[in-house]
């Protein structure tokens, strides 16, 4: 009698789902080791974002709407961008560090591990203050924008796709380190452009920047299209709008694999910290 039973290996998505969940819980446990620091950073980031709400309040009191956006519309942008930025940096805290990991030869550690190096690197860190951004996003959407439950659910869908776009664009920009070495200035600028342009009314920048917002700096997919769908609560359009996220993720992943072909190991011996 054959006593050996072959346990079936779970599917790829399930395995990586488990891996991401484990990374998340380990990162969170690490952050909670310094509980006071965690609370200070989260509250500090929320106060940081709240200052901009005050700015818009004072400005719009004097000017009325700007670029067709009222205070309510601007706060939607802030809630969505803040929530997306927060989620991206909680789950994939290394998106801004990928370039320095490549440049300093720390990629070797991840290449030797069985998981996909791109996912492994991005998910191996969390940014504590990003929790403040995520919580702030939900506080703004509920209390300043005044969202009901269906709107909060739709908002959550856009936060998830926005986080994926943030992670994809940032990681793609960081991949320039494969070709150019220290490209932190340019990659930082690309991320700053995406973050900043997403937070202001699209129309104030004029039509000549329109194509940039739907290609290189996808503020349109991250914030502007979700805003118009959110206003009309048009659920059938939500999956279409979210489709941009996997496309950008695939492009970002492709760039990383392409860059990996150029990577030369420095035979560095190190440990993951």
């Amino acid at each position: 009698m054959d006593t050996h039973t072959t346990r079936q290996r779970p599917g790829l998505i399930k395995r990586y789902g488990r891996f991401l969940a484990t990374s998340f819980s380990v990162n969170l446990a690490g952050a909670m080791e310094y509980r006071a620091n965690f609370i200070v950073q989260v509250l500090g980031m929320m106060a940081n974002n709240a200052a901009f709400a005050l700015f818009w309040h004072f400005l719009l009191q004097k000017t009325g709407s700007i670029g067709g956006y009222t205070f309510h519309d601007i706060m939607f942008l802030w809630a969505l961008v803040s929530g997306s930025y927060g989620l991206a940096h909680i789950v994939a805290g290394n998106i801004g560090e990928l370039g320095s990991i490549i440049r300093e030869g720390n990629l070797d550690t991840y290449l030797l591990q069985p998981k996909d190096p791109w996912i492994n690197i991005l998910a191996s860190k969390t940014v504590v203050s990003a929790w403040g951004d995520l919580v702030y996003g939900y506080l703004v959407i509920v209390f300043l924008v005044g969202a009901d439950l269906p709107h909060v659910l739709m908002f959550t869908c856009f936060v998830i796709s926005g986080a994926a776009i943030f992670a994809a664009v940032s990681a793609a920009a960081e991949c320039m380190a494969f070709a150019a070495g220290d490209s932190s200035t340019i990659s930082g600028a690309i991320f700053e452009f995406l973050l900043t342009f997403s937070l202001y009314p699209e129309k104030i920048f004029g039509p000549w920047l329109g194509w940039v917002f739907y290609s290189l700096i996808p503020a349109g997919f991250l914030a502007f299209i979700p805003r118009s769908i959110y206003e009309s609560l048009d659920w059938p359009l939500v999956p279409l709008a979210m489709l941009a996220a996997p496309v950008y993720l695939a492009l970002s992943y492709g760039l990383f694999r392409l860059g990996l072909r150029r990577y030369e190991s420095g035979n560095q011996i190190g440990i993951r910290s």
Partner: protein, 289 residues
């Protein structure tokens, strides 16, 4: 062998310059030497400023776009024309980008324990850091000012000046005062590491108050009661004063008032810094090594 020689006289000059002097000239020479050495170090790596310049240019562009859109169909907002608003932000933001970034580098240095050997050297630690940081900051600000002026000019047009020479000379003095006040206040925030390990949140709050109270918006945009209260804080001295002097000051009395306000805050910030540093020193323990 005819190889390159080390510049021994230079190092001797430096040593002579930082030796404690009894005269004001000696005192000034000491810190000017620190500042010029720091400027030379920074100029050796000009690419390091590129990221800062890109972000500054982005913000000037974005705010010029905001003001252009907001000003459509209006001759002025809160007493400022579109041209004044565009240039106001350019100068106010220059004060933050060019001369408001002391905190993180200083915090790293203090947390790293560099204070342990710096404190025994023959100079004032506060003035040493001030000279070391202000030198490069003022040099970088010149470059940023050129970039910001070009963008503001292209987006909102040239700024008409009522008293060009007085305004430009006052702007330089005002900017120097603003940079010094910012240094002293941020130095106080850095010194909080002697009481609490995590001091970044304090800086965030300080920075956002700077943004709201005079940088993103002229004070005339704030509600009346807040406008009155703000003058009891140092924030108008940091961004509003230099930006107002260049863009909207109507006469010499207003300029003199703004410079006087800044001078008062420089003295107050200096006294606060001396007080906090004297308390912080009591909490410092050097373990040798």
């Amino acid at each position: 062998m005819n190889g390159p020689k080390l510049s021994a006289p230079d190092s001797r000059n430096w040593e002579r310059a930082i030796r404690p002097g009894r005269t004001v000239t000696g005192w000034l020479r000491r810190y000017l030497t620190v500042a010029s050495t720091s400027v030379q170090n920074r100029l050796a790596y000009p690419a390091g400023v590129l990221g800062l310049a890109i972000t500054y240019a982005l913000f000037v562009f974005v705010f010029a776009s905001v003001w252009t859109s907001a000003s459509q169909g209006k001759t002025d907002i809160a007493g400022y024309t579109l041209v004044q608003l565009g240039w106001y932000f350019m100068i106010a933001e220059l004060s933050i980008f060019g001369a408001g970034r002391f905190f993180f580098a200083l915090s790293r240095e203090f947390r790293g324990g560099a204070v342990a050997y710096q404190i025994s050297r023959p100079y004032s630690l506060v003035f040493y850091h001030m000279a070391e940081r202000l030198g490069p900051v003022l040099t970088e600000s010149l470059g940023l000012a050129v970039i910001g002026s070009l963008i503001a000019w292209a987006m909102v047009g040239p700024l008409p000046l009522v008293m060009p020479l007085v305004q430009l000379a006052s702007l330089l003095l005002s900017f120097l005062l603003a940079a010094s006040i910012q240094f002293l206040l941020q130095f106080c925030l850095v010194l909080l590491v002697f009481w609490t390990e995590e001091n970044t949140a304090f800086f965030w709050i300080y920075q956002k108050l700077t943004f709201i109270l005079g940088a993103f918006l002229p004070l005339q945009f704030l509600p009346d009661q807040l406008q009155a209260a703000v003058w009891f804080s140092p924030f108008p001295a940091i961004t509003y004063a230099p930006a107002r002097i260049l863009t909207a000051a109507t006469d010499g009395t207003e300029i003199a008032g703004l410079l006087g306000f800044q001078a008062c805050w420089l003295v107050l910030a200096g006294l606060l810094c001396a007080l906090v540093w004297s308390r912080a020193k009591r909490r410092l323990s050097v373990q040798g090594g």
